[in-house]
Amino acid sequence: MPVELKHVTCTYSPGTSQEIRAVTDLSLKIQDGEFVAVMGRTGSGKSTLIQLVAGLLEPDSGQVLLDGLDIHARGYDRSALRRRVGIVFQYPEYQLFEITVEKDVAFGLKHSGLKPEEISLRVRLALERMGFSFEEIRKESPLCLSGGEKRRVAIAGILAAHPGILILDEPVAGLDPLARREFLQMIRQFQEEGMTVIMVSHNADAVAEYAGRVLVMAEGRLEMDGDTRTVMSDLQRLRSLHLDTSAAGQAAELLRQRGVEIPDQTVRYDELLGALTEMMVKS
């Protein structure tokens, strides 16, 4: 299910003095199975972009197409859209409300028309996927869990709908380094199984490591769009947009300035390590 935005403009508070153009004339296409990272400063239009893709905001002009169909056209099946596009907001644990974990994860499937057995199977699989033992956790209150557990339950609630496109807004904010790596590896696994992943992140290392393509937003426009290597190695431009660059990219730049020959477009930690080891072996 490719997603396509065609000349999309979206404004907040139209017609008042506080009118804000959130995104202006935005066009882009995301193919099936991509891992796309979205970077940009606060207020650059990143969250507007992902909410447009999820169908939570309606553009003032332009179209949002899913599978070539306009999702805001009359007669478009909105509830099918909800099941196909899952969105994990920042701090997803804040959306928990049910009495038991099992009920909370099943909430999104209530109106799906699936059989009860199918629903409970999906709930079990989603929870196990997030590293829980289903029998142990099902009767717990989601509000009594620890912070990390709550977040995993909330994400299970989104995965249970089997979305084809998963959108994540700053998913690793507030996680410790180990949890962050585990989480991102799990997301990569989803992508390898065929899911399209769109991830908003400030964390340049995570972006360089995991994404296949990077979109950079600035002032409501798409400033850069390309494969991770090309975008993340353009340190100058990223800095001029006040964005973080990956630690490996910075180290490579410093080494190059000191005359060490590091290949261009080195942005990942393992690449840098590889290049350095190779040099050591040669000398």
Binding site: F97, S141, L143, C144
Partner: protein, 180 residues
Amino acid sequence: MTKMSYVKRSMITAVCIALCVVLPMAFHSIQNAGSIFSPMHIPVLLCGLICGWPFGLLCGIAGPVLSSLLTSMPAMAYLPPMAVELAVYGLAAGIMMQAVHTKKIYADLYLSLIAAMLAGRLVAGAAKALIFAPGSYSMAAWAGSYFVTCWPAIVIQLALIPTICFALEKARLIPARYRN
């Protein structure tokens, strides 16, 4: 639920007042939500139940006034009777919660809620008849506006408020009333 400190109850009251402004704004895009479930009643009743009557009273007065000042909902003309109604909700909910101890949390909550909702409606009706619109206000108009047109709101509030209390207790944000 009287184990909370003065500062904590003050801050809970502050967020409940803020919710009196926020809930109607947040839900006005959902069709008829505002007219159906009277969102401002919920934080006021909760504040009275959880923090006690002085705080409930403050929330009941300040909530609608602040909402009116910041968003012009409710319109100033409707503000006085509404503030009276909500103030009595907060006050009565707090007093009842102190007075009633049945050893069952749900029984306490429902008794206090129903008493508060009745008291608020009675006082607001009396205030309207005697002060705000003397002469032109009839028993039928009172019953109509406070029971018939808003009975869905009553049902929804009776369902929602104990659920919220239970969830807050689970999340350890308010102390449990009875140990079990």
